[in-house]
């Protein structure tokens, strides 16, 4: 059995967009995402289904799913969906500017911002591992449900 992931791709796009730094997305981009979702593929992996379910449940949840998928499923359906969402946001009329803009700050501020981003990244990676590794481990030991 394969999974298409979240029941509501529009909610998933809004959640993923917030994780990727865009608070408000256009209806057009949302519909494009929903329409193109199948191009990101499907999965039959139980743990990837769990990660897909996390994408639509807010930016923090999406961030944890991304952090875990980056390590264990770098070419999986979760990362492909995130790539699709980022592509739409980067090329959208109302949203591209926040991705194209450079950082207008002094060198120390830039270094401080980078260090902060690194700490956030590390914290998120550790949290994702602590939360999802047990689920992943049990999923690998448990037979796939036939329901």
């Amino acid at each position: 059995m394969t999974a298409r992931g979240t029941e509501d791709p529009r909610a998933e796009f809004r959640s993923v967009a917030r994780y990727l730094g865009t608070q408000v997305v256009s209806d057009h981009a949302t519909e494009l995402y929903a329409g193109m979702l199948s191009s990101a593929g499907e999965t039959s992996s139980p743990i990837e289904k769990t990660l897909l379910g996390m994408l639509g449940r807010g930016p923090l949840s999406a961030a944890l799913a991304d952090s875990y998928a980056r390590r264990f499923f770098p070419h999986g359906v979760v990362r492909r969906r995130l790539t699709l969402a980022l592509a739409l946001l980067e090329s959208g009329a109302g949203t591209h500017s926040s991705y194209d803009r450079g950082i207008g700050a002094s060198r120390p501020v830039t270094w401080a911002a980078l260090a902060g981003a690194g700490i956030v990244w590390l914290t998120r990676t550790v949290a994702a591992f602590l939360i999802l590794a047990p689920v992943h481990l049990v999923a690998s030991l448990w037979p796939r449900s036939r329901r």
Binding site: R57, P143, R144
Partner: protein, 308 residues
Amino acid sequence: MTSRAIVVTGATGFIGTQLIGVLSASAHTFSLVALTRRPSSLTSLPTWPSHWRAIEHDISSDRSMPSLPAGATIIHLAAATGSASRNEIIRTNITGTLRLIEASKSARGGHMILVSSIAARYDDKRWYAYADSKVTAEKALVQSGIASTIVRPTVVMGPGSAAEAALWKLATSPSPLPLVPGSPHVRMQPIAVRDVARTLEHLIHLAPTTASLSFDLGGPEVLELGELLSRMREARQLTRRNYIPIPLTPIRLVLAAAEKIGLPLPVRAGQLALFANDSSARTPLPPALADLSSTFSTVGEMIGGRRE
């Protein structure tokens, strides 16, 4: 043909299928009504006798229960198992049982045999809605005042057994680290599904002398999980392993939290209760079943030659 009537719920399920097979051998001695969601899957069986009836009915639905034959012995097998959602479990295992009890009261003089689960006896039932639902169903039946027998099978093995599939997966895992959730010392007492079906057949014949009886039903051997897994490996010509326990509580906590927010999960926190509790029978079998139990399959017979 006799006037004795039997009603079965869950006849198309894991134990129900075996029970129907066992009962069909003496089909001429009683009439049988199966309440099932899929009547055609029963009536199309080559062994399904023409005088038996399969009525389409889902005990978890709000539809009114069909009237049951007077004085019928009801074997209540239908249940939502551990992989189902909490709501589904409550609707089927508690509400469905309550409805069946009411229907049984209407069919005066009946006797109900409730197939519960060893999970109802678990000390640690945290996050295990299935175990809680079985406890509630048992209590409801006892308090109803109708003649009843409660049977709690232990770890039931056989084709279609979720527990057996999980054990095989653990036993034959190619992982270099032989991990088991919980402790390899947790006790299990596997019983073959056919032996459960044969026991139920005996109970039908013994009813109503077994009224107010409740007991655990296990196979002839009590083994620790590690030993059971090793025997399963040996059955496949694999070497024995010394299993490394993984702490269960953090895993169950994470699963329970994820379940709470509705994430699709590969396994539910409650299902791991199998690895946190003693799953051996704690009550002796009724003396009337002593002869039958001496013919139960051994663990070797249950796992010998079986493939996932």
